[in-house]
């Protein structure tokens, strides 16, 4: 996932307040949607577990290209949907801030970016599986790569618009630095897309019912696997 790995003090107060307010709006909308749809104990537990896996996974260093950290936010969107996923994004960012992985003041901006990844990931995957009937690997990879490429641009946009405090560079002068940031995030996005494609294929073989949220219809194969799981009680 893209993450603005900036600590507190990087953005000035008005921008911090703006991104935080926007993020609060997204969270409020998610809570409203969940309340309307009915928040069950299962949904709560699922969202909490997805957040804990997302956070734990982000602490793992994957030995590819010198070391990568992935958060699987588009995957979380595919598994739990955009409303619950946005809450997961907030939880992951708060835990991150608590251990110095991003600033407390950056939670707003980071939650916005991650919520965007979750929403784009979810709807792209749904579109590809539902309308275009592509396979799980292709859908997972494409949806994730698309979501993360867009979010890489958004991250750069947020940083350019907000500016880094005490920097005297104009937006144009900062563009080379931002270009490097965008490129790095896009490359990570492609890699995370591949990883997500493999993961979604794996989940689809083992527990296809977990992909119900984002897949248009349940297949017969899915029902049979669920039956096999239920029979073992």
């Amino acid at each position: 996932m893209a993450h603005i790995h900036l600590e507190d003090g990087a953005f000035s107060l008005p921008w911090l307040a703006l991104w935080s307010l926007l993020a609060a709006g997204v969270i409020a909308l998610s809570l409203f949607v969940l309340r309307k749809g009915g928040m069950t104990t299962r949904k709560l537990a699922v969202a909490a577990m997805a957040a804990s896996v997302g956070f734990a996974a982000s602490q793992i260093d994957i030995p590819v290209f010198g070391g990568l950290h992935l958060n699987f936010t588009p995957l979380i969107g595919i598994l739990v949907g955009p409303a619950l996923g946005s809450l997961c994004a907030l939880v992951i960012n708060v835990f991150g801030a608590a251990v110095g992985h991003g600033g407390w003041g950056m939670i707003g901006a980071n939650t916005l970016v991650n919520a965007l990844e979750i929403v784009l990931g979810y709807y792209s995957y749904r579109l590809m599986r539902g309308r275009l009937k592509t396979g799980r690997f292709t859908s997972g990879f494409s949806a994730t790569a698309f979501a993360l490429i867009i979010s890489a641009l958004v991250v750069a946009g947020i940083v350019i618009v907000s500016g880094i405090q005490d920097s005297q560079q104009t937006g144009e002068e900062a563009l080379p630095s931002m270009t490097v940031l965008i490129a790095a995030n896009m490359l990570t996005g492609i890699i995370e897309g591949l990883a997500t494609g493999y993961i979604v294929s794996f989940i689809g073989r083992v527990r296809p019912d977990l992909l119900e949220e984002s897949e248009a219809e349940r297949t017969e194969g899915m029902a049979m696997v669920v039956a096999k799981g239920r029979a073992n009680v």
Binding site: E7, V53, V64, F72
Partner: protein, 250 residues
């Protein structure tokens, strides 16, 4: 002493620390803020070695992301060198930018660590329930609780992979597949655990809200005085930054 400070007081102090780190621009005042935060940490008799360890992450983040600014920030050139025929320079403003960002980050991380290392989890849970919507607070409680299990499980699977020489697997595609399998398994197990947890919660009468097992009283007069002091400092800093003149953003 810090352990006995009211959790609400510590929480509010963290918020004001974030605010001050955001608003202050003078390096000496920022260094003073950092010194205060370290003193706060030390007053809690917490190990300094642990603090240095926790500082690694924010230092890495700040340096790796703003290192380019050291070269592109306008100012007096301190060091110049050739890279592939191109002349690049480290400027004084570039270094000052990175230093200020570091100082801000470390001040906040120090206070944040002090808060979490000196406050009981049940108090943090109570504060979460008082300040956040119920659904969010429930999510934080459950996520935190099961982070240990999830981290251990991922560690165990990674160990299993290493024990079968999985780390020797060469190639981008192979490595990605291996780790995708590990994370995929973790997600599946997490969902299955979620289903069991949901049943167990319902079996014990859960009705949508985690019951609070401890109450946290409001801050004492001393705590209120500390909060007031921090608020005044923040107000002064904000006023002098934004109303007495000063740029916003770039």
């Amino acid at each position: 002493m810090v352990h006995r400070i009211n959790p609400w007081t510590k929480g509010v102090l963290l918020i004001f620390t974030v605010g001050l780190a955001t608003v202050l621009t003078d390096i000496w005042i920022l260094l003073f803020l950092l010194a205060l935060s370290i003193a706060f940490y030390a007053a809690a008799r917490l190990p300094l070695g642990v603090l240095i360890g926790w500082w690694t992450l924010p230092v890495v983040f700040v340096v790796t992301l703003t290192v380019m600014f050291m070269f592109t920030e306008p100012g007096e050139q301190l060091l110049t060198f050739d890279v592939f025929g191109k002349r690049i320079s480290i400027t004084d403003n570039g270094i000052m930018l990175v230093v200020k960002l570091l100082v801000r980050a470390l001040a906040v991380v120090t206070v944040s660590l002090t808060l979490f290392m000196t406050t009981r989890y049940t108090h943090i849970a109570h504060m979460a329930f008082r300040t956040l919507p119920g659904t969010l607070a429930n999510m934080f409680i459950l996520s935190y609780r099961f982070m240990f299990e999830t981290s251990d499980e991922i560690s165990d699977v990674l160990d299993a992979m290493h024990s079968r020489s999985g780390s020797l697997a060469r190639g981008f595609s192979r490595q990605t597949k291996i780790f995708a399998g590990i994370f995929g398994l973790s997600f599946v197990h997490a969902f299955e655990r979620a289903e069991r947890i949901a049943k167990a919660m319902e079996a014990r009468g859960f009705a949508g809200q985690f019951p609070r097992t401890e109450r946290v009283p409001l801050p004492s007069y001393g705590g209120c005085a500390l909060i007031a002091l921090a608020a005044v400092a923040f107000a002064i800093a904000t006023y002098s930054r934004y109303f007495a003149g000063g740029p916003l953003g770039w």
